[in-house]
């Protein structure tokens, strides 16, 4: 007598494709709960935390933004190993705007996001036609190169970096600016990927040749996705500059490339919620593990390998499946 596991979609899930069938509070709550949960947690939790954990929460949101931007690139067929490029661009540009031009943070941050996004896109534009690991190599190399150039030419404070930035106007702006942008992007990008525009991006990831054959200029779409992702990355960098009140070579460090990838892989690539969930798990975890110092990065490395091999779909997709499906063992005749 053999048994097999049977998975059946919950009826409500099957019907929710057509919204009109929803007629009870229970059903509506069932569908809304997963969407409401992050909103409630992200908006209500921070004021309850101590000042130290509020800072952790900000860096959680920042890493979640980076992870989302990584995920957007990955979904458009560009595997980036250098989110630090976007992060660093934003951080440096915002630092420069503040230090040399004396702009207030609320002007400097949007400016640095747009300019940083544009600059990163321009840097990567010539290599957009590369695919797979070749694109990864380039993205791995560029932040390293920028660090060396800053070191060699001693521009923008050289190895010392720029200090004495203007802080954001108030603690609440500092806290909620990143969180609100994160929530908007979390739901906005999801909507975007579900639209026709997102379909083209996913198509480029699956088979760029056939998208080209459909008469679509894939480089134009890739450049747009790259600009969106790098603007998000630059925004997170710019915010961090005004939280830490410092910009320097560490903004191009490997941490800012690895943690977002780790977050997206652990949480589940291919859905922005997964990337956010991954960041929400890894950042507080790494804060708790601060005592073990450099060993944290070893754990990220191991996490990456274990998740890639054992649970390639990531935690989010696993939870999602459990939420939407009944599972039971049935006998095979």
């Amino acid at each position: 007598m053999k048994k097999r596991k049977e998975r059946i979609d919950r009826g409500i899930k099957a019907r929710s494709g057509d919204v009109f069938t929803l007629c009870s509070w229970r059903e509506m709550l069932y569908l809304a709960l997963p969407r409401l949960l992050p909103i409630i947690v992200f908006l209500l939790l921070p004021p309850l935390l101590s000042v130290y954990w509020q800072k952790v929460f900000i860096s959680l949101a920042v890493f979640a933004l980076l992870a989302i931007s990584w995920d957007l690139l990955a979904q458009s067929g560009m595997i980036s190993l250098g989110q630090a490029l976007f992060f660093g661009m934003g951080a440096y540009l915002s630092g420069i705007a503040d230090h040399y031009f004396g702009l207030t943070p609320l002007v400097a941050i949007p400016l640095a996001s747009i300019l940083g996004g544009a600059a990163s896109t321009l840097l990567l534009l010539p290599v957009l036609r590369l695919r797979g690991i070749y694109f990864s190599m380039v993205t791995l190399v560029i932040p390293l190169m920028l660090v060396r150039i800053i070191e060699a030419t001693r521009i923008f404070g050289g190895t010392e970096g720029l200090t004495g930035m203007t802080p954001l106007p108030s603690k609440w702006v500092e806290l909620y600016l990143v969180i609100i942008v994160l929530l908007c992007l979390l739901f906005g990008f999801r909507r975007m990927m579900a639209s026709d525009y997102g379909l083209v991006l996913k198509g480029i990831c699956d088979n760029d040749r056939s998208v080209t054959n459909a008469g679509i200029n894939i480089y134009w779409f890739k450049a747009q996705a790259l600009f969106l992702a790098s603007t998000v990355g630059a925004f997170s960098g710019a915010c961090m500059t005004h939280v830490y009140l410092f910009t320097g070579m560490p903004v191009f460090a490997l941490d800012y490339s690895i943690l977002p990838i780790a977050a997206a892989v652990v949480g589940g690539p291919g859905s922005f919620a997964g990337a956010t969930l991954g960041a929400a798990i890894l950042v507080p975890l790494s804060e708790l593990l601060r005592g073990i110092g450099g060993l944290r990065i070893v754990f990220y490395g191991i996490f990456l390998v274990v998740f890639i091999v054992a649970l390639p779909e990531g935690i989010f997709h696993y939870i999602q499946r459990k939420y939407h499906q009944f599972e039971r063992w049935v006998e095979v005749e």
């Binding site: 990955a74 595997i79 190993l81 010539p126 290599v127 036609r129 590369l130 695919r131 797979g132 690991i133 070749y134 990864s136 190599m137 380039v138 190399v141 560029i142 390293l144 190169m145 060396r148 150039i149 070191e151 060699a152 490997l254 690895i258 990838i261 892989v265 690539p269 073990i292 110092g293 450099g294 060993l295 990065i297 070893v298 990220y300 490395g301 191991i302 996490f303 990456l304 390998v305 890639i308 091999v309 390639p312």
Partner: protein, 290 residues
């Protein structure tokens, strides 16, 4: 000065060729871009250092053991991790990168950053060549480099396993119909690549310090040489090794040592932008790239 620079540039080129050979071999045969390559290099340097200085083993034995261990680890990485994600570029890159990250950061966690080491005896000489003193270790590097290049050529062209390697590299499906076990060959290529990294490490590390961060530098240098030569092309590695080797040494002498790494990085970018297949890449590989 000028002749000295040239001599050192030649030596530097051989160092780069040795660094890149293993990466190139693994990529050329199994198509796996081993981002843990630099980490394996550092790992074997540390292993041989520990065997040599802490366990007081004889030099040759410790080098042999560290090369064997690294080669074994390379094979294990393929068997345990890569076999499950083969063919998915994203997963391969992330998995090998994760392994490399774990190894390198583990060493820096143990604080093995820059320490005294005793050098094996044969490097305590130096020879006067055309008015420049060159120590024996550097000549030894050139010698081993030549032997490795020749040995690898003989291996891939005149042994049955080597021919199987090339068969898999050229057309995996056809090779499979001839009864070549592609997974076995890929495992072998991975461990051979790791072994070559270990050979390079044990020979090169007595020249300077070993530091965990070297892992990333070695990876970048190997990438630079392979990309410029054309990934998977063995002739390209040699030419590109000389190109970058000379460029690096001359920038070091005439511009400043800060700029040497920038040269490799710039070279990677320029080649990928202008001619993604590299100097000696094949058209087939070009199609995979763009």
């Amino acid at each position: 000065m000028f002749i000295g620079t040239i001599i050192y540039a030649v030596i530097n080129s051989f160092i780069l060729i040795m660094l890149a050979m293993g990466f190139n071999l693994t990529f050329g045969i199994s198509g796996v871009a081993n981002f843990a390559y630099g980490a394996l290099y550092v790992l074997s340097a540390y292993t041989s250092w520990i065997l040599l200085n802490l366990l007081k083993m004889p030099y040759l034995l410790s080098v042999m053991i560290s090369i064997l261990l690294t080669a074994l680890l390379g094979g294990l990485i393929y068997r345990l991790v890569l076999v499950r994600v083969r063919g998915q570029a994203l997963s391969e890159v992330i998995a090998t990168f994760g392994i490399g990250l774990a190894i390198v950061e583990l060493f820096s966690y143990f604080g093995l950053v820059g320490f005294e080491y005793t050098l094996p005896v044969f490097i305590d000489h130096s020879f006067l060549i055309a008015g420049t003193y060159v120590d024996a270790q550097r000549l030894f590097i050139v010698g081993i480099g030549l032997v490795l290049v020749l040995g690898l050529w003989l291996f891939t062209h005149h042994t049955s396993i080597g021919l199987a390697f090339r068969g898999i590299a050229q057309d995996e499906r056809t090779a499979l119909t001839f009864g070549i076990d592609s997974d076995r060959i890929a495992t072998l290529s991975m461990s051979l690549g790791a072994g070559l990294a270990a050979i390079a490490a044990t020979i090169i590390f007595p020249l300077g310090s070993i530091a965990p961060a070297e892992g990333y530098d070695v990876l970048i240098k190997a990438l630079a040489v392979c990309i410029i030569g054309g990934l998977g092309s063995s002739g390209g590695v040699i030419v590109a090794g000389f190109v970058i080797g000379f460029a690096e040494r001359f920038t070091d002498t005439y511009i400043g040592s800060h700029w040497t790494m920038i040269i490799s990085l710039m070279a990677i970018l320029l080649v990928l932008v202008i001619k993604p297949s590299g100097l000696f890449g094949k058209q087939k590989e070009l199609e995979e790239r763009i």
